[in-house]
């Protein structure tokens, strides 16, 4: 799935610790079953209270957080965890675009819709552990339809890649349609996501995503300060 993560596994790196916070035991059990099939991941703690769960497993590298706990949206808790540097993957059935964008603004590393399934869930958690972006189709839709006047300005290619990824859920099909490689499709989508690290309040997780994006050559350091004016240039990085 991801070359780097695979390499780490081969070199015997310890598995990534995951904490799951959800108020439905059935969801916890289901997600635990999904993650159990992936040797690079290990579930350290689960529960319905983020504080309790993280006290039990302070070393957890990724937190899967249900956005609605006991009938309350926990965006404030999400912001608090993200500010403290916790990599939070929001995992929710509330897939209204506004909710997804609010979660990104609050510092969530990724937003995963509950119906998006095992493959996206694993990919998201693995990417999050490396501070790499992963944009599942539902989040791509929210980003491409973002109506806010202060939204990050995306290039035409980035918009198109997001739109087609949202529509088809198949990067191979998007690549054929745009006549580019799958790798380039992923770059456009990920670069759009990185632009969102500059929306909303600053968070340690956003800085980490941005730093890793520069390290990976996804964006150039000189582009960071001038994202808005650079948005029109479409240069897939090698």
């Amino acid at each position: 799935m991801d070359a780097d993560a695979l390499a780490e596994d081969v070199t015997g790196a310890p598995p990534i610790g995951v904490a799951i916070v959800d108020d439905h035991p059935v969801v916890i059990d289901g997600v635990r079953a999904w993650l159990a099939a992936e040797p690079r991941l290990r579930v350290l703690a689960t529960g319905d209270d983020p504080d309790v769960v993280l006290r039990a497993a302070p070393e957890a590298e990724v937190v899967l957080l249900d956005l609605r706990l006991h009938g309350r949206m926990v965006l404030d808790k999400l912001a608090e965890l993200s500010a403290a540097g916790r990599r939070v993957v929001v995992y929710s059935e509330h897939t209204h675009p506004d909710t997804m964008l609010a979660a990104l603004d609050a510092g969530a590393v990724a937003f995963l819709a509950k119906h998006e399934g095992r493959e996206h869930c694993l990919a998201t958690v693995l990417a999050a552990a490396d501070d790499r972006p992963y944009v599942p189709p539902a989040l791509a839709g929210a980003m491409v339809g973002d109506p806010r006047p202060d939204r990050p300005s995306l290039s035409d290619k980035e918009r198109e890649a997001l739109l087609l990824w949202f529509q088809s859920m198949s990067k191979a099909s998007v690549a054929r349609r745009m006549r580019i490689s799958e790798h380039t499709v992923k770059q456009y989508v990920d670069r759009a996501r990185i632009k969102y690290t500059r929306a909303g309040r600053p968070a340690a997780t956003k800085a980490a995503l941005l730093a890793r994006a520069i390290e990976d050559g996804l964006v150039r350091p000189e582009e960071i300060g001038i994202y808005r004016s650079q948005a029109a240039t479409d240069r897939p990085t090698p």
Partner: protein
């Protein structure tokens, strides 16, 4: 699952559930403009009777009362030709103003008012002392009605100013002829009052009626819009409620069968029922529009139909489409509904809409049968709607895209 459904369908707990597209307020403003236009149309229609009455009074007075008096007094007038020409000019002004008024065309108000004042002064002078207070000096009693015609729909102070000038001209003539007896001055005052009061009353009355009608029509239009919106919202709620009943029914049935052990999770048929029930629930949760947009409504209806035929379908709409002409809407929706009829196994129908762009897409697994959809890429006069049909062995992809030009 159904416990979660309640809040997401309509409770206040959800964060920022309302769409914030600029389309919303713009649509409301558009409705207000439409209501305003309707109101002014009503005002002008209700004003039509008053305009016809004013034109009739002015011209009838001019022809039936002023003309015979002038003709009878013709030989004894100081300057009969001037009085006659004045009469003709005024008749022309009245005719022009009348036609324009009845057709609701604009009038050169200032120029016509100046012409009338000129005629006023000339005829007063040309009538002579002997005919000063008689009907042969027709301007005194009849001209005020022409002022009313020329100044229709203008502020009432313009009329008062013209009538004031009219009174000053008359007073000047009076003084010029040395008719300064108390009796003459009293007659003068009575004449001024008598010739001005009725035209002013008609003028003010017509303006008031028009304003009232405009207000009432605007209120009625606004109330109508609110009522229509409420009916639409109620219908949407009813629809949603009946769908919820249907969905919970299917979901409960499958869950109960599973719980009781009647259904085997390994059975493909049971899995298909689960997928179908889950897809229905998700679509219901995703519905967030209180008053359905016509395009989304059409697509949702098509999705519901496919669902009833047993096709698990996802329908996700992001953003609110702007008001689109019916032709554009058809071109956006029809290829999708046609492709949907052809779909196998599952379908994903998406809409991404903003004020300047609407993209509708349907993705289904590819199969061997040819596309049953209409002609490719088309442009029409209401703005370009682009169509893309693709199949790549993995999926079939139908996309329509409208962009504001």
């Amino acid at each position: 699952m159904s416990a979660d459904l309640g809040p997401s369908v309509g409770a206040p707990g959800d964060v920022a559930r309302r769409p914030r597209l600029p389309g919303g307020p713009a649509g409301a403003a558009g409705e207000r403009v439409a209501a305003g236009a309707a109101a002014s149309a009503v005002a002008s229609a209700s004003d039509r009777g008053a305009r016809a009455a004013a034109v009739t009074i002015a011209l009838a007075w001019h022809v039936a009362i002023a003309l015979p008096a002038v003709l009878v007094a013709w030989p004894d007038l100081a300057a009969p030709a001037v009085v006659g020409v004045g009469w003709l000019v005024t008749a022309a002004v009245g005719g022009l103003a009348g036609v324009r008024l009845l057709r609701r065309a604009p009038l050169p108000t200032r120029r016509l008012a100046a012409v009338l004042l000129l005629v006023d002064a000339a005829v007063f002078a040309a009538a002579g002392e002997r005919y000063l207070f008689t009907t042969a000096n027709w301007v005194w009693s009849g001209l005020a009605w022409f002022f009313v015609l020329v100044l229709w729909r203008r502020p009432v102070r313009w009329l008062l100013a013209l009538l004031g000038a009219h009174a000053v001209i008359a007073l000047g003539e009076l003084l010029g002829h040395g008719a300064t007896d108390p009796a003459d001055l009293t007659r003068y005052a009575m004449y001024v009052y008598g010739t001005s009061s009725l035209p002013v009353a008609v003028f003010v009355g017509a303006a008031a009626i028009a304003a009232l009608a405009r207000d009432r029509a605007a209120t009625a239009a606004a109330a109508g819009a609110v009522a229509a919106e409420r009916v639409a919202a109620e219908r949407a709620r009813e629809d949603r409620r009946s769908r919820l009943a249907l969905v919970s029914g299917t979901a409960e049935e499958v869950l109960a069968d599973l719980a009781a052990g009647h259904a085997d999770p390994a059975d493909p048929e049971v899995r298909r029922r689960c997928v179908l029930a889950a897809a229905r629930l998700r679509r219901l949760i995703a519905e967030s529009d209180d008053v359905p947009d016509p395009l989304l409504h059409e697509l949702r209806a098509a999705a519901d139909l496919a669902d009833r035929n047993g096709l698990p379908i996802e329908f996700i709409a992001i953003g609110v489409p702007p008001k689109l002409p019916v032709a554009v809407r058809r071109r956006l929706a029809d290829p999708l509904t046609a492709a949907l009829a052809d779909a196998r196994r599952w379908a994903r129908l998406t809409v991404v809409a903003g004020p300047d762009e609407v993209v509708v897409s349907l993705v289904t697994p590819d199969h061997d049968r040819p596309h049953a959809t209409g002609p490719p890429a088309a442009h029409d006069e209401a703005g370009p709607v682009e169509q893309v049909h693709e199949r790549d062995g993995e999926i079939r992809w139908t996309q329509t895209r409208w962009q504001k030009t």
